[in-house]
């Protein structure tokens, strides 16, 4: 009989079998990760990844110019400002989101290395991607979803994703709220001996790099320029990490990478009470704040999504702003797309005003929509759990209590997250982690991992205490 502690104590052994990766070869102590070696450990080159994805209909999605949104944004921008806005229509992937890119290399690798199926713990579009790729490769798929509160109520968007996973032939296990989702994952991996298609393996992150590469290629082909800014929705940081790596692979080192999360700052993600009081199940601060300030909290020993290395800027938007952007995209551009993927679009409608008219801003994704995912399905559900829905400014929104729907484009706003403070929080924890003075290798790692090349190894301690009162 598996009890919580007995399964958790075998965590490392179970994950080693279920990923085929021995993370000990990339680590030295609790802090250091040889990130270059970790990312290279997949054994697949960039061209091979592209080939594998194209052979299964993944990637090569249309890049669409949002001419009408650009025109509307320019009316609000100072003369000479208002970038061209492009969006990568990732809803055109086989299961309807960019997540197919993340699942594709895992599925291929699992089959090639003799696993009979793949498992993922996710309430998001990733479940459908794993189920779809598993079907294509003739593998089994098990998706474990945190889905219900103790009253048995489930967010309509999560229920839709369960439907889609089952439609694609997966077994879906839906749990109540709690961090024991990881325990369930370990238990299922242990019982089946299947592959852990975690969102945070190097296979998953490498699969996203093609999106960054295509963004550069498509933008240059359409506009003759490289993107000045790429705006990515940020949950656990996989998309920002993979896209930024892809931009660099394609020679766009100077493109500004902006992470965007929905602001759910007042809600506790593991609380049964708070669980259904959010209208976004991903791309929100409940993931992005903990994952940026300490990435190694994922369902693999070390996280391959390390977005502080790549983020130039990090902003948050309100739930109401994303609903506004979703409706505007439908009416002004004729594109009815899912809600969470429009998190970055909501920020783009504000950030494009800061860029010159000649500049190009790329929104990294769209996602499929439908029953359970539409704004009004979300808002109707929010009302049933006691969240008030009003018309108002983004600043009127109170996560878990009030959703404020804007009524004009100039009301949209985004809030800057103090990235220096996030980097500082990570550095402080990193300095403390080994319980002794850091080695030279650990110091160099921390500089790279926190995105602190300007500070350098010699300046770490000074940076860690900067801004602390007294």
């Amino acid at each position: 009989m598996n009890t919580y502690n007995s399964v958790m104590s075998r965590n490392a052994e179970i994950l080693r079998k279920a990923t085929g990766l021995d993370y000990r070869q990339f680590t030295d102590g609790p802090l250091f990760v040889n990130y270059v070696a970790l990312m290279a450990s997949t054994g697949y080159g960039a061209a091979e990844v592209r080939g594998l994805q194209r052979a299964r209909g993944v990637g090569g999605t249309p890049m669409l110019e949002l001419r009408n949104l650009t025109r509307l944004v320019r009316k609000l921008a100072p003369p000479g400002y208002g970038a061209r806005i492009l969006v990568k229509d990732e809803a055109a992937n086989p299961s309807g989101s960019f997540k197919d890119r993340r699942a594709s290399i895992s599925a291929h690798h699992a089959l090639r290395t003799g696993y009979r199926g793949i498992v993922a713990a996710t309430s998001g579009n990733y479940g459908a991607a794993v189920a779809s790729q598993a079907a294509m490769y003739g593998l089994g798929a098990i998706i474990i979803q945190e889905a219900y509160d103790s009253a048995g109520r489930g967010q309509p968007e999560i229920l839709e994703k369960a439907r889609k996973c089952e439609a694609l032939g997966a077994e879906v296990i839906q749990t109540t709220v709690g961090p024991e989702l990881f325990y369930m994952l370990l238990k299922v991996l242990d019982e089946t001996g299947w592959f852990n298609a975690s969102l945070y393996t190097p296979f998953s992150i490498q699969g996203i790099e093609t999106l960054g590469e295509e963004i550069v290629q498509n933008t240059v082909a359409m506009t003759g320029r490289r993107p000045a800014m790429v705006v990515c929705t940020h949950a656990g940081g996989g998309m920002c990490t993979g896209v930024a790596r892809g931009l660099r692979n394609a020679g766009s080192d100077n493109t500004h990478v902006v992470g965007v999360s929905v602001d759910l700052s007042e809600l506790h993600m593991a609380s049964d009470h708070d669980f259904n009081r959010k209208s976004f199940t991903t791309g929100h601060t409940g993931f992005s704040v903990p994952f940026t300030s300490w990435p190694d909290r994922a369902d693999v020993p070390r996280n391959a999504a390390r977005s502080l290395r790549y983020l130039d800027r990090f902003v948050t938007v309100s739930q109401g702003s994303v609903f506004y952007a979703t409706e505007l995209l439908a009416q002004a551009e004729g594109l009815e797309r899912g809600p969470a993927g429009n998190t970055s679009l909501a920020a783009a409608l504000v950030l494009a005003r800061e860029l010159a008219r000649d500049d190009v801003l790329v929104v990294t994704e769209t996602e499929y929509t439908g029953a359970g995912k539409t704004p009004w399905a979300q808002l109707a559900f929010a009302r049933t759990v006691g969240v008030d829905v009003v018309n108002g400014l983004p600043g009127d929104e109170r996560p878990g209590q009030v959703i404020a729907l804007p009524t004009s484009l100039d009301q949209l706003d985004c809030s800057e997250v103090d990235l220096a403070a996030v980097r500082r929080s990570y550095v402080r924890r990193g300095i403390d982690a080994p319980g002794r003075a850091l080695t030279a290798a650990e110091r160099a790692f921390l500089v790279e991992d926190a995105g602190l090349r300007d500070v350098g190894a010699a300046g770490l301690e000074e940076f860690a205490v900067a801004g602390v009162a007294g």
């Binding site: 798929a141 098990i142 489930g154 077994e171 839906q174 109540t176 593991a270 409706e327 002004a332 539409t374």
Partner: protein
């Protein structure tokens, strides 16, 4: 994995079971969550299922799971929802913005 009997007396059901009792949950859970059992649901085929009784189900991938039957022929009840007045107000404001601007080429 054992071979599934796909005979016609098999019924698609949803079962639910307790994974962890309140005392045995993760220490990192907040208090409101720790006070509750950790429960799970899954769907599969069962023989002669009865609501409220235990049953073994065979899932889509052929795995066998046990739980209490909570639904027979479970469906998907989530919907597009009814638009709220606030959403309609937002929608109409966007319609006015789009119609009041020279768009297209």
């Amino acid at each position: 994995m054992s071979t599934v009997n796909k005979s016609s007396d098999q019924t698609w059901v949803e079962v639910e079971w307790t994974v962890l009792e309140p005392g045995g949950r993760a220490a990192s859970s907040p208090p409101d969550t720790q006070a509750l059992p950790y429960r799970a649901r899954a769907r599969g085929m069962a023989t002669d299922p009865e609501i409220g009784h235990d049953a073994e189900v065979v899932t889509m991938i052929g795995r066998r799971l046990r739980g209490c039957v909570r639904d027979i022929h479970p469906g998907y009840e989530h919907s597009f929802g009814r638009p709220s007045p606030e959403w309609v107000r937002m929608k109409n404001a966007i319609r006015d913005l789009v119609q009041g601007t020279e768009l297209g080429e």
